[in-house]
Amino acid sequence: MAAASTIKIALAGKPNAGKSSLFNLLTGLNQKIGNFPGITVDKRTGTSHLNAEITASIMDLPGIYSLYPRTLDEKIVTEILMDRNNSQYPDCVVLVADATHLKNCLLLLTQLIDLQIPTVLALNMMDLAAQSGQSIDVQALSAALDLPVVMLNARTGQGVAELKTILAGTIKKSSRTIFEPGAEIKPLLAEVQQQFNIEQPYRAYQLLQQTNNLTFLSAEAKNSINTLAKTANFFQHKYQGAETVMRYGFIQDLLNKITLKLSDPEWKKFSYRIDKVLTHKVGGYLIFFAVLFLIFQAIFAWAQVPMDFIDSTFAQLSNRLAAFFPEGPFFDLITQGIVPGIGGIVIFIPQIAILFACISILEESGYMARVVFLMDKLMRKFGLNGKSVVPLISGMACAIPAIMATRTIENWKDRLITIFVTPLMSCSARLPVFTILVALIIPDNKLFGFFNYQGLVLMALYLAGFLAALFSAFVLKFIIQTTERSYLIMEMPTYRKPKWSNVGYTIIEKTKSFVFEAGKVILAISIVLWVLASYGPGEAMNNAHEVVQQQTANETLSAEELEARIAAYQLEHSYAGIIGKTLEPLIKPLGYDWKIGIALVTSFAAREVFVSTVATIYSLGGTEDEQTIKGRLKSEINPATGGPRYTTAVGLSLLAFYTFAMQCMSTLAVVKRETKGWKWPLIQLVYMTVLAYVSAFIIYQSLS
């Protein structure tokens, strides 16, 4: 049935109160993730059919304790609730409260009442509250606050139907006023109310409190409010403190009245016992590293099976289509450009899904808060956050899901630094490049008859990436300026079982946002790269067959060898080949020739493409066999010296380059998506390329 009317409902409450569970219950899969304009905060909206006639649009606001924001995410809530002209301004707010810890959930509620926003109080986790032995008089609570109260268990869905019925009716403003500003500022409030045409004194009070934070106020408005505040001696901190004390006084009185039975502190004993183990000096870290190792294994090894499957499926699809379509540039674009391009996006889904399954289990169970607690001191030295550990370690499997995982870091500066340094961690795509080069230049000998040299070099490469990440974070700590102060005043949630449907929703949400947002950029770049590698100026590309046949007329070549020669010739004369040759003077100081230059260009799609490009350029056909490629690279002669092209110096310089360079368009696309703009991915690209170039330069010049 078509919706006769739509009402706007916002879900608000403190973090971990169960807002997301309720959001998932209300909207099901009718969700979409958008952006709040101008800032990097995800907006989760969805629609819910309250009854046959009424459809509501539901918005899940970032978790907050009060209208005074601490982080960028929290600012958006104040911004929306304070500005009645905001397109997001809700008709009604559902305040989701954790019934086991009512006290600090009610603070925000009292502020909403004073703003005179129609509000429904949803007491979530009633099951846990009952378990804890607590009992409250819900009717008295509803009467005291003059607003509807619903008991809810967002894990099972109990109470959701009742909530929907209430929301479908008309919700009026509560008639209560909880906070009375002091008599000395009343004239000031009246003045602001009159100047800005505001009905509620508390709205005016908030304007005075947060004048400079609110972006919807014009510079002029800010000026005039600031002047008024100054002349009336309005001290923001002092009044804010007094307000909080007053509100808590009210809440305590209220709780005293409505509490029939206090909760028994014993119910948390179990949670404390777990904490004893999980935050233990030694055991805590061992368990944490075991968890990290498990996550790393999961994305590194377990994702391999579906990834290989996706890889071969798309390769087959591409071949089938090629056989099915007639020849021609348009069909080539589909079979060699678009299909593999989409394959290059889909291939990340297993890793993203697995990582986010792990992360949402950590978050849901309450363990993530303990991770922050354990790692905060260590990571803070490097400008990182306790929560940066999970993305950094995941980055060793793949930077794409890792960067998406930085979402869990609330502090914007910490998040940005983590995003910035994560691609320096050696990811699994570097491994094929590493193994082939290491096998090529490092002798397969053992140090002290025990340590394999090749293994040691490989480890050194991983370590170099890790140290570069820490070092860069340390430097960035001083460069990035922020007005946001770093806090760690964080609630430690009680341990509980993760809700599996929430884990599922998280996976779907993250996969969708990757495919539809970062995917577009990845597809576009991969098509551009394909065009560069398959087309060239002039007639060279078309004449490849004849030219190669002429060149090789006096050699006896099998059909396959000839094919491989032609492919090499075509790549040399493609745009990518021309770029490789143009780059030659630039990369000569690193010890590279134009052939390596081409590999650098094409491997921008993904680092492992280096191997297949090298195979093509050295006329090896489509082989990816390590031994064949290694043998061919060994025999490659540097015409300038007459010696081998791939000397130890060149090999190490290439290894250094691939360790530090941002050779991955998908990472750039994801960083663009996460930072909502091209500024940071471009800075990152330049920084990492310079770092790679300089270290490769130093290594080559000092070794040759």
């Binding site: 086991t100 004893k276 609630e491």
Partner: protein
């Protein structure tokens, strides 16, 4: 304070921080319990009016207490 001890909050040294702490329920006159600290001594975990908070030492140091 040592782990396991309780105390009553008397006030705050840092204005900007105090409003945040108060929002989390750390009000003058409330009882806090120092539960345990992280392995390197920082941050610490405290309990106030029935729920657990983690704070950095530097943040906790702005809270003045009566024993």
């Amino acid at each position: 304070m040592l782990p396991g001890e309780t105390a009553v909050i008397s006030g705050f040294d840092d204005d900007a921080l105090s409003v945040k702490l108060m929002e989390m329920g750390l009000l003058p006159g409330t009882v806090v319990r120092f539960n345990f600290s992280a392995p390197f001594g920082d941050p610490i975990c405290i309990t106030v009016s029935g729920y657990d908070l983690s704070l950095r030492i530097a943040e906790a140091a702005t809270i003045t207490i009566l024993n």
